[in-house]
């Protein structure tokens, strides 16, 4: 074997070693194409025009409003549309001083629990506990009355537990709420 071959083999080993090092350190990530296609399949489910009713507590009584939106049949997508529309309405009616948006909705594996993550705390710190409770009850009632098959809701802000000084959100809230508790 001449010197040229040694250099080629040495260079190839160095290249393979460098690539292996980058792979180990996470600079290079291999992804199977099949994963991407599954995700695309889930996202490309048929979207339809949906009519729904949102419920909110304002001036000592319940109000309802019919809305229409384009959504897929996936419950998480429905929850996201309904809650965001409700939050816009609450801000317009000045029930909330600043508008919050729902960033992410995820369902647990058994689809019994929905995890709602907001971009900011939807509860105003200056409000009474009852007013804060009624914002949460509005979200729960809207999801409940639109027959979305979840049983519990976990409230988060930026994927961290929602912190409030009066209401506890460390556990998921039942979709039935706490207004009729005896």
């Amino acid at each position: 074997m001449n010197n040229g071959n040694y250099i080629i083999i040495g260079g190839a080993c160095l290249l393979v070693g460098t690539l292996f090092f980058f792979y180990q350190q996470g600079y290079i990530i291999f992804q199977r194409p099949i994963t991407t296609s599954t995700l695309q399949e889930e996202n490309s489910s048929i979207s339809t025009r949906v009519k729904a009713v949102i419920y909110y507590w304002h001036q000592h009584k319940w109000h309802d409003e019919v809305i229409q939106f384009t959504s897929s049949a996936h419950p998480a997508e429905k929850i996201r549309h309904l809650t965001n529309q409700l939050l816009i309405t609450l801000e317009q009616e000045q029930v909330m001083s600043k508008q919050a948006n729902l960033e992410t909705v995820a369902l647990t594996h058994d689809k019994k629990q929905a995890i709602l993550s907001f971009n900011r705390n939807p509860l105003d710190k200056q409000k009474s506990t009852f007013e804060k409770l009624m914002i949460i009850e509005s979200i729960l009632k809207t999801i409940r009355e639109n027959n979305i098959p979840v049983q519990e809701i976990l409230f988060l802000v930026h994927h961290q537990p929602l912190i409030d000084h009066e209401l506890d959100f460390s556990n998921p809230w039942s979709l039935q709420g706490f207004l009729n508790k005896k």
Binding site: Q126, S128, F130, L133, H165, E166, K181, K182
Partner: protein
């Protein structure tokens, strides 16, 4: 009784009459003490220990009420309640588990209450009422996943997570909170004061095992507190009297 010297020591020579007097006085003292104790325990006056916990601490100032903060107003209110309750009920001890400038760690109030085991724990809160008249809310701690009843046998050991411990005295808490609320609701002078009675996961009551409820007062301004003071005191007294009767029956 004569003082005598015996060698290097003095001793008192007590006559038999003086000795009889001392024995009679001693027995009178014991009998009097027993009679008083039984009379006090039979009296309908509230007695025992209650904790009045104001909202906020050095880190958390709470909500704005006029030009003040919730932590200051609630502390001022509970101090006035303590004075009024202790003056009207000499056998009642009111404890305020916070001093100005103190930082409260999470669940510190619950730890304190659980160690002291008072007869009643009341968490006191305020907010600025903007629209309607001043009002009062009563809150009872409740979580969704909790069992409806809890019975602990003397022989068995029970494990409860910190947010489920309230079930130990759930029934008593409910009765006392309801009695308090009804007293405020039926107060002739302040008929519009009672706004509602709710069971919800109210954070300041987490981890407390003794009977506990929370009062949230909506004030248009901080001076309106004076209007509500007397009916809150009456409500607490009614709840404590009920608890006292319940204990006596047991």
């Amino acid at each position: 009784m004569r003082k005598k010297k015996y060698t290097n020591y003095y001793y008192y020579h007590i006559s038999s009459n003086a000795m009889s007097c001392i024995i009679i006085l001693f027995f009178l003292l014991i009998t009097g003490n027993t009679i008083c104790a039984s009379w006090f325990s039979n009296s309908s006056q509230p007695q025992g220990i209650i904790i009045l916990s104001p909202a906020g601490d050095t880190h958390y100032s709470g909500r704005h009420i006029g030009d003040s903060f919730e932590r200051g107003i609630t502390l001022w209110c509970v101090e006035q309640l303590k004075t009024m309750l202790e003056t009207r009920n000499p056998f009642l001890k009111v404890i305020i588990p916070r001093i100005p400038g103190e930082i409260r760690e999470p669940l510190q109030h619950a730890q304190f209450a659980n160690r002291l085991a008072p007869d009643l724990y009341i968490s006191f809160h305020c907010y600025q009422e903007k629209e309607s008249l001043s009002g009062l809310w009563v809150y009872l701690f409740c979580t969704e996943s909790s069992p409806s009843t809890f019975t602990q046998n003397a022989s068995s050991l029970a494990f409860l997570s910190y947010d489920q411990t309230y079930v130990i005295n759930k029934q008593t808490s409910h009765e006392l909170a309801e009695l308090f609320y009804h007293t405020v609701q039926h107060d002739q002078a302040h008929t519009a004061l009672a706004k509602g009675f709710l069971q919800l996961p109210f954070k300041p009551l987490i981890g407390i095992t003794c009977p506990a409820f929370a009062i949230e007062l909506g004030l248009k301004n901080k001076n309106e507190w004076q209007i509500c003071q007397s009916c809150i005191v009456s409500g607490i007294e009614t709840a404590l009297a009920h608890l006292h009767r319940q204990k006596k029956d047991e």
